[in-house]
Amino acid sequence: MNAIIVSALLGVVMMFSGIFTTNKTIIKNIATAGVLFLLAANLMEMNNLFSFDINTHDLIVTQRYGLFFNCIAYGATFIYLLLSGSDITEVGVNVAEYFALIFFVLCGVAILSSFNGLLMLFIGVEILSIPLYILTGSDKRNLKSNEASLKYFLMGSFSTGIMLMGIALMYGATGNFGMVHGAGLRGVVTASQQPPYLLVAGVILLFASMSFKVSAAPFHFWTPDVYDGAPSVFTSFMSTIVKAAGMLAFIRVFENQYTILGPTWHIIVDFAIVSTLLIGNITAVFQQSVKRMLSYSSIAQAGFMLFALYASNTEIAKEGILLYAAAYSLATISIFAVLIKLHDYTLDGFNGLAKKEPVLAFAATVSLLSLSGIPLTAGFFAKYYVLAGALQAGGALWLIIVAVLLAAVSVYYYFRVIQAMYFKEGDPQTLPITGGFKAALIAVAALIVLLGIWPSLLLSWLYF
C-alpha cells in the first residue's frame, strides 16, 4: 500500500516542482531522492515497520513477494535515474513532467504487484500504460517519436479494449472478478466439468491482451517501432521496469486461472513462447541499428520470461521471474545508458569504443554477456531459474532445447556489438562523459557479476 500512495504523491510533487524551479539538475535530484524515499517506504512495509492501513475490501493484497518485486523495480529505477537521469533532462523542455510520469508509472507497477482481482489489474495496467504513451511522444519535434506515440496509443487502446472484453466475459460467466479471497475462478469449474465457453473466451482474450503488454508474439508488432521511435532514455525504462511489471501481472493473473483451460493451456503457452523466441531472436540478427536490435532482443527476452507462466505457482519459477526482472533490467539499463551517449546508434557507431572509452565498452560488454546468459553474469541464473522451473513443472524438453538454441542465436547479435567495440577500428563520437557516470556503470557491472555468482544474495531477501 505504501508504494502505491507514496509513488502517486511523488508524481504530484514532481509535477509541481516544475513551477518552483527550472533548474534541471535540481529537478533530477528531487526525483532521484524521491525514488530512494519510495524504496524506503516500500522496505518499511516489507519489514512491517509502517504501512498505510486502508481497507480496500481485498482489491489490493500486499504480499512479501509483490513488495519484493517493488524493491527490484524501484532499485532498478534508482539505477536508471543515476545513469540516465541527466539524459532525461535533455529530451525536451518539460523536464518535471517526465519525472512525474515516471512516478505514475511506478504507481502502476505497485498496483500490478499487489492487485487481487481483474478490476484492479485493469486499473493497474492503465495507470502503467497511459504515462508511457506520453513519454514515447515526448520528443515532440521528432516525427519518429510522434509516430511511435500514436502507434503505441492506438494499439494500446485496442489491447485495452480486448482486455476489458475478456474481463467482462469472465465476469459474466462467474459473477465475480476472480482471485477474490485467493480462490480464483477455480472454484467455479471442477476438474471433470467442461468450463463455460464464455469463461474460456474471456481467458483467451485476457491472455491476448496481456501478451500485447509484454510484447509476446504474435502481439509484438508495436514493439520495434515504439522502442525505436521513443527517446532512448524512455525506451530503456519501458523495456525494463515496465516490461517486468507487465510480466509479473501476467503471471499473477494466470497463476490462478490457467486450470480453466486444462491441457490446452500448455499448448497456448508453448505457442506463445516459441513464436516470441523465434521472432525476437531471428529478426534481431538482421538489425543494423543497435537500438532496434535491442527492441527485438527485448521481445526475445520476454519469450524467456514467459517460461515462468509454465510453472507460475512453483517456488523456482517465482524466484526465476524476480531474478530475471533484476538481471534483465540491470543489463538493459546499463547498455542503454551507454547507447544514449553515442551519436550513432548503428553497429558501426560502436566501432573502436573499447579504445576510446574502455569503461563504457567494459560495462556494455558485461551487460551484453548477461543478456546472452553467459555464466558468471546475472543473466545466466535468470535463464537457468526460469528454464529449470518450466522443466520441473513438466515442460517439454524439446521446448527447453529450442529455447537454448535460440539463446545461442542471441549470442550472435549481442556479440556483434562486442566485436564492434573491441575488434574493429573506429572513432566513435560520444556525448561528454562524467567520472560519476563511469563509476556508476562499473558499480552496475559489478552488481551483475555479483548476482551471477550468488543469485541468493537477492533471492534470500524473499524469505526473511
Binding site: L376, Y384, I400, V404, Q419
Partner: protein, 477 residues
C-alpha cells in the same frame, strides 16, 4: 585446499595483470604466476596428504549446488598438464609482442583458471561455470590478437562451443531433476533414478558439447580455422590443454552418469571417431600450411583417444589418460616450432620452406624428435599411450582397430613429409637467411624433448598417477 589455491593464484594474477602496461613486465608477471601455480600443483599433488586435495563450501544451498573441488587421479594429471604447459607456453612465446600486453597475459591466466576449474569441479553447475569461463578468455584472445580472418573464425568457434554448452546445460538440468536429493554434486549425479532407456537423451545432450570441444568428426569444422587464426600462444592452450577438456569430461561425466547409453551408442561414436581420424589424416597430407597440418594431425590423435574411451576396458582408458598428457606436451612442442619458423621467416607454407637443417641444426634435431613423437615411434612418450589405446580398440573390435591403424600410417606420411619439406631439400629464397631458433623457445623445446624421451622410456609415473581413477571408473561401470 590445494585445488582452491590452484584456481586462486592465476585468478588474482589475471585480474591484477590487466593493469600492467609494459610488455616485458606483463610477460614476467604471467610467467612468475604460472610458475608459482606449477610449484603449488607439484607440491600439492606429491607432498600433501589426500585431505588437502578436496575442498567443499556452500554456494547455492537452495538449489543444491556447492563449490566442491577435488583432485583425484585423472584431474591430478590434467591439472599437472595445465600447470606445466602454461609456463612452457609463456616462456617459449616470450619474444612475441602484443598490443596491450597486460590484457593478453591476463586473459591467458584467466583461461588457465577455467581449465583447472573444469578439471577439479565435482559439482555439475560449477563444472558448467568453469567450462564457459575457459571459453570466454580464449574468445577474446583469438579475436583481438589473432590472424587476418580472426573475427569470423573465432566467432564460429565460439558459437559452436556455446551451442554445445547450452545443450549440456539442458542435460545437466535434466539429470538434476532425476537426482534423488536434488543436488548438483557429482556423487548425486552418478546415482540417479534414470532408467537405461531414459539415459539416451541426456547422454547426447552432454556428449554433443564434449564432441564439439574434442572435436569429433563431423563437428570438427571450427578447429583448423581457429587454430590457424588464433595467436600461437592461444593455439597452444587450445590444442595442448583445452581439447582435453572434452575427453576428460566424457570420462568424468558421461561414462559414470550414463553407462548404458555409453555402451549402447559406443559403436557409432567409435566409427565416427575412426572416420574422422582417417579423414583428418588424408587432409593433413594435402596441407601446405604447417599450422593447419598440425591442427588436422591433432584431430586424428584426439579421434583415436575418443574411440578408445568408448571402447572401454582398463587398458584403453589407461591409455587415454596417459596419452592426454603426452599429446598435450608434444603438440605444444610442435606449435613452438611452427611459431619459431613463422616469426623468423614470415611464412608457414611448406612449399616455401626447405633446407632448414643446414641453417638451424639445433632446431632440426628438436623438430625431428617431436615429429617422431607425433607418429608415436617407440622410445617416445606417445608410443606407450598409443599402444595402450590400440590395445583397447583391438579388444573391442579388430576391424575398427585395423581401420584406425591406417591413420597411423597416414600420420607417418604427413609428419615425415613435413619434416622433409621443412628441414631438407633445397634452401629456398626465404630460408636463405634463416637463423637459429631463439633461446627461450630452444630451452623450452629441450625440456619438452627430455620429457618426451624420459616418459617414453619410463612411463610408469603417469600410469601410477591415473591408475586409481581408472579402477574407480570401472567399478562404477
Amino acid at each position: 585446499m590445494i585445488p582452491v589455491l590452484l584456481l586462486f593464484i592465476p585468478l588474482v594474477a589475471g585480474i591484477l595483470g590487466f593493469f600492467i602496461k609494459d610488455q616485458k613486465a606483463a610477460s614476467n608477471w604471467a610467467i612468475v604466476a604460472s610458475v608459482i601455480t606449477l610449484l603449488t600443483a607439484v607440491i600439492g599433488i606429491y607432498a600433501m596428504p589426500a585431505s588437502m586435495h578436496q575442498f567443499e563450501a556452500s554456494w547455492l544451498p537452495s538449489i543444491g549446488a556447492s563449490f566442491s573441488v577435488a583432485l583425484d587421479g585423472m584431474s591430478k594429471m590434467l591439472v599437472l598438464l595445465t600447470a606445466i604447459s602454461m609456463p612452457l607456453i609463456l616462456i617459449a612465446t616470450r619474444n612475441n609482442n602484443y598490443s596491450n600486453p597486460g590484457a593478453f597475459y591476463a586473459l591467458m591466466s584467466l583461461a588457465q583458471v577455467g581449465l583447472i576449474g573444469v578439471f577439479v569441479s565435482m559439482d555439475a553447475l560449477l563444472f558448467y561455470f568453469f567450462w564457459e569461463l575457459a571459453l570466454i578468455p580464449v574468445y577474446f584472445l583469438s579475436s583481438i590478437w589473432g590472424g587476418e580472418k580472426r573475427i569470423a573464425v573465432t566467432f564460429k568457434f565460439f558459437i559452436y562451443t556455446f551451442i554445445g554448452s547450452l545443450l549440456m546445460l539442458v542435460g545437466i538440468l535434466f539429470v538434476y531433476l532425476h537426482t534423488k536429493d536434488h543436488s548438483f554434486a557429482w556423487s548425486s549425479f552418478t546415482n540417479t533414478d534414470l532408467t537405461s532407456g531414459e539415459e539416451a537423451l541426456p547422454f547426447f545432450l552432454f556428449f554433443i558439447a564434449f564432441a564439439i570441444k574434442m572435436p569429433i568428426f563431423p563437428l570438427h569444422t571450427w578447429q583448423p580455422d581457429a587454430y590457424e587464426q588464433a595467436p600461437t600462444a592461444t593455439t597452444m592452450v587450445l590444442s595442448g590443454v583445452m581439447v582435453k577438456m572434452g575427453l576428460f569430461a566424457v570420462i568424468r561425466w558421461v561414462l559414470p552418469l550414463f553407462p548404458f547409453a555409453a555402451h549402447q551408442f559406443a559403436m557409432p561414436i567409435i566409427i565416427l571417431s575412426v572416420v574422422g581420424m582417417i579423414y583428418a589424416s588424408l587432409i593433413a597430407i594435402k596441407q601446405d600450411d604447417i599450422k593447419r597440418l598440425i591442427a588436422y594431425s591433432s584431430i586424428a590423435h584426439i579421434g583415436l583417444m575418443a574411440a578408445a574411451i568408448f571402447a572401454g576396458g582398463t587398458l584403453g582408458l589407461q591409455g587415454v589418460q596417459v596419452q592426454m598428457f603426452n599429446h598435450g606436451i608434444n603438440v605444444i612442442g610442435l606449435w613452438i616450432l611452427a611459431n619459431a619458423i613463422e616469426s623468423t621467416l614470415g611464412t608457414r607454407k611448406l612449399s616455401e620452406l626447405g633446407g632448414l637443417a643446414t641453417k638451424a641444426p639445433t632446431m632440426a634435431i628438436l623438430f625431428v624428435v617431436l615429429a617422431f613423437a607425433n607418429i608415436a615411434l617407440p622410445l617416445t612418450n606417445a608410443f606407450i599411450g598409443e599402444f595402450l589405446l590400440f590395445n583397447g580398440l583391438f579388444q573391442y573390435n579388430i576391424w575398427i582397430a585395423a581401420a584406425a591403424g591406417v591413420s597411423i600410417i597416414l600420420g607417418a606420411i604427413y609428419t615425415l613429409q613435413m619434416v622433409q619439406k621443412v628441414l631438407f631439400g633445397e634452401v629456398s629464397a626465404i630460408t636463405e637467411n634463416a637463423t637459429e631458433i631463439n633461446a627461450y623457445s630452444k630451452w623450452v623445446l629441450i625440456v619438452i624433448v627430455i620429457a618426451v624421451i624420459a616418459l617414453g622410456v619410463y612411463p610408469q609415473p603417469l600410469i601410477d598417477l591415473t591408475k586409481d581413477s581408472v579402477n574407480a571408473l570401472l567399478v562404477i561401470k
